[in-house]
């Protein structure tokens, strides 16, 4: 059922995807049954359905087409607990009060053009009014200076999308730090009881870490997770520079919360915070749950929710607990990819060879971005991620595409670099390694045959050379524009070198040709050619005659 509250957008359907994903779903699932929930702004249908399962849910959407779609999707009689309000935020009356207001999409898509534009604080104030006293607000706040913005080649202040009638972007009024968000909400009568930083994108986060954990938690492992989830999110599209490095190093170096793409806030309409939803130290969506989460989330029973792994601090150390309840120690250590890059940048050949050898011996089918290394121990970071037969080739691409310094600067061809890396990894016959098949390895083929130089059937036909390079595209995070500029500069340098080299060789060739000419003359002289001998004899006689004449003078 749709209620038109006024100010709706009759033709416009949201252009950008709604807030979605297993992480938001996981949080929604923690809400108690039987409560009244307002879902403000565009949210994934699967998420709304899951909420409406045992709760009375009202959705607020500004787009009429979206409201109709949601309403017809939810026409199932068993989901009668769903009401759709269509209109702009300021038309929301406080006649209805809710136990929980969910705004995982933030407050940016609540107002329509019919409304006076509202800034962040005004929007939050309106949401607050629809909470009953003691009610809980779950709000995502986009960090307008977050990593996703820093690497975005477009700028929101120049957005041409149809809902950018007021594109304030970084000139907006939303707080720029997690603690300021809490301060502002507190001042609005919404004391904050829970706060967490989100990666890799506000609309579909797959990693949540609370600020305390970012301060005192296992930073290397968390940095590895941040890089890992970022890599997955940026497997397509264009970026200014590789966001994985920024994500990992900001977490490791203590400014993870400041540069996180968004913050999730749990606040209560109360004089002081009360016990509501508790956020664990960290949550992440592993393997199968990453990407394609819309479909995962909409499946009844939610396989997406099961993919969420919780990270818990215990007196015995950090544990990770998967959706099925099994807990195991959180593997410690540093992301292999970063260790490899740092050894390559430092020209630390012994360390680079040690890491490559350990990796190719222990986990040859796991990409470097999914391996933690702690001394001599190599552990898979996310066991849900599919195995790859071209893990080493991917690292070679990263070195070249990323413009990283490495100990073999003369090698610019990726296939040769793969051979060098394979040699450095102790693989006896590098040509045997499946260089670029780019295929996921079939389950059951987890053997170490790659390391043993006996590629499996599917990998033996792996293409080489140019095909291989093309095959690589689109599977790894794309090189950023900065990296592309570096590549252009590198190619210019290589071209200049090649031109200069060809001139160098021409000079060398001329020298050799002159030498050859002299040698040919000598050969002719000794080869018994009659004409030559006659001419030579004539020359000798002529010289002798000349000398005699000179002497006689």
């Amino acid at each position: 059922m749709i209620t038109m509250i006024g100010g709706e957008m009759p033709e416009y359907a949201e252009e950008h995807p709604p807030a979605a994903g297993p992480l938001y779903r996981h949080l929604a699932d923690r809400l108690p049954a039987g409560i009244r929930v307002l879902v403000a702004g565009p949210h994934d249908t699967g998420l709304v359905r899951a909420l409406a399962d045992r709760r009375e849910v009202t959705c607020l959407l500004r787009s009429r087409p979206d409201a109709e779609t949601l309403s017809s999707d939810a026409a199932d009689p068993t989901e009668s607990g769903l009401t759709v309000l269509c209109g702009t935020l300021s038309k929301l009356t406080d006649a209805d009060r809710y136990d929980v207001v969910i705004a995982f999409d933030g407050v940016g898509r609540l107002c329509s053009p019919e409304d006076t534009p509202l800034d962040w604080a005004e929007s939050v104030r309106l949401l607050q009014r629809s909470l009953r006293p003691g009610g809980t607000l779950l709000l995502t706040v986009e960090n307008e200076l977050g990593i996703h913005r820093l690497v975005d080649p477009g700028t929101p202040s120049a957005s041409r999308s149809a809902d950018a009638w007021n594109a304030a972007a970084e000139f907006g009024t939303a707080p720029g730090r997690a603690d300021r968000v809490a301060e502002v909400l507190g001042a609005e009568g919404l004391p904050v009881s829970g706060m967490a930083a989100l990666w890799p994108l506000p609309a579909n986060p797959t990693l949540l870490i609370n600020p305390e954990t970012l301060r005192y938690g296992p930073l290397d492992a968390l940095a590895a997770l941040a890089a890992n989830v970022t890599a997955t999110a940026y497997s397509q599209g264009s970026v200014l520079s590789d966001p994985r490095r920024l994500a990992a190093s900001s977490v490791r170096r203590g400014i993870g919360a400041e540069l996180a793409p968004a913050w999730l806030v749990i606040a209560q309409r109360a004089t002081r915070p009360t016990q509501g939803i508790q956020l664990p130290p960290a949550l992440f969506v592993g393997g199968s749950g990453v990407g394609g989460s819309e479909t995962g989330g909409s499946a009844a029973g939610g396989s997406g929710a099961a993919a969420v792994t919780e990270i818990l601090g215990t007196p015995d150390g950090w544990l990770r607990r998967t959706g099925n309840g099994t807990a195991e120690p959180l593997p410690d250590g540093h992301l292999l990819e970063e260790r490899l890059l740092s050894a390559a940048l430092g020209h630390d050949l012994p360390e680079l060879r040690r890491l490559l050898t350990g990796w190719m011996t222990e986990l040859p089918l796991t990409t470097a971005g999914n391996v933690l290394v702690d001394g001599a121990r190599f552990t898979v970071l996310d066991p849900g991620e599919p195995e790859r037969s071209d893990a080493l080739a991917r690292f070679a691409h990263l070195l070249i595409d990323g413009g990283y310094h490495h100990p073999w600067p003369g090698i610019t061809d990726v296939v040769r670099l793969i051979a060098v890396l394979a040699g450095a990894a102790g693989l006896a016959n590098p040509t045997d390694i499946p260089e670029m098949s780019g295929k996921e390895v079939a389950p059951g083929q987890r053997s170490k045959e790659v390391a043993a130089g006996q590629p499996g059937q599917e990998t033996a036909s792996g293409p080489r050379g140019q095909d291989a390079v093309a095959g690589h595209q689109g599977q790894e995070a794309l090189p950023g524009q900065r990296e592309q500029l570096l590549q252009v500069a590198a190619l210019r340098r290589q071209l200049a070198d090649a031109e200069e080299r060809s001139r160098f060789f021409e000079v060398e060739l001329e020298k050799r040709e002159a030498e050859l000419g002299r040698a040919k003359t000598q050969i002719a002289a000794f080869s018994g050619n009659l004409g030559y001998r006659a001419a030579k004899a004539g020359l000798v006689l002529a010289r002798a005659a000349r000398n005699r004449i000179r002497k006689g003078r």
Binding site: L349, W408, G423, P430
Partner: protein, 269 residues
């Protein structure tokens, strides 16, 4: 590539290490450092094809090469270390004794000038065991100089390093290693490649005596070498410290596996 890659049979030694035919090493895609130096790994005036790597011995040389606008320097370690690795030291028939002494030498382009008499006197006064003088080929072929040294010890030559790929003695380093392994000490009047090789081969190093000079030689470089590596100078430097420095200069710990080296040099697998 450059004929310097064949000097002293370096390319041949590396080919053998890589499991290829040592008699016919493939073309190296770059330039091998053929002797120890304190510049970018290549000798001054080497005609250098742009855009090709220099395969230098040590990380220190690579850094220096970078600072000298040679960004493609690649550390592979000295070919002599590859030889040392593949030729295990045989059980000596007789224990190591005496000193192998390498008087500083000139080359095709520059002759060395100095007082050989005075140098020999100083050597015989310092060394207490038998002395083997190893002369460079051009001085070995100079009967006058050779006769001077023959009065005070055994005189040898490791062979001709080769020039323009002609007359290359591919066994040069093998000969040198075999000789070094017979001696307890290795000495010279200049810190040079031979001292590094000798030390790596297990000799105690010494650098003393009239350093002599090449025609038109800029003396600031030899002065700098003496200042920079004091632990290798003197008639009896502390052997362990000297050895650590020498191994670092030769790139010990940086040697590539045969497969890696083949890929680096652009050789077939």
């Amino acid at each position: 590539m450059h004929h310097g890659n064949h000097f002293y049979g370096h390319a041949h030694v590396l080919a053998e290490y890589c499991g290829l035919d040592p008699a016919d090493p493939p073309r190296v895609e770059g330039y091998l450092q053929h002797g120890w130096n304190v510049v970018d790994g290549l000798g001054a005036g080497t005609p250098y094809a742009p855009g090709l790597p220099i395969f230098v011995w040590s990380e220190r040389t690579r850094r220096r090469a970078w600072s000298m606008n040679r960004p493609l320097a690649t550390v592979t370690g000295a070919p002599f270390l590859y030889l040392l690795r593949s030729l295990a030291e045989p059980e000596p028939e007789t224990p190591r004794e005496g000193t192998i002494w390498y008087p500083f030498h000139g080359w095709e382009g520059q002759k060395v000038s100095g007082d050989h008499h005075r140098l020999i006197d100083e050597i015989t006064a310092t060394e207490d065991g038998p002395i083997t003088f190893c002369l460079y080929w051009n001085e070995f072929e100079d009967s006058r100089i050779r006769a001077l040294y023959e009065k005070s010890g055994r005189v040898i030559c490791h062979g001709y390093r080769g020039y323009m790929r002609m007359r290359t003695d591919a066994r040069f380093l093998h000969n040198q290693l075999a000789e070094l392994r017979k001696h307890r000490r290795v000495a010279s009047n200049r810190l040079s490649t031979a001292i590094l090789y000798g030390t790596a081969a297990g000799c105690e190093p010494a650098v003393y005596g009239d350093p002599m000079y090449l025609d038109r030689e800029d003396t600031s470089t030899p002065d700098r070498i003496r200042r920079e590596w004091p632990e290798l100078h003197g008639s009896a430097p502390e052997p362990e410290r000297a050895r650590a420095t020498v191994l670092a200069e030769l790139g010990d710990g940086h040697l590539a596996s045969p497969a890696e080296l083949r890929a680096i040099l652009g050789w077939p697998a």
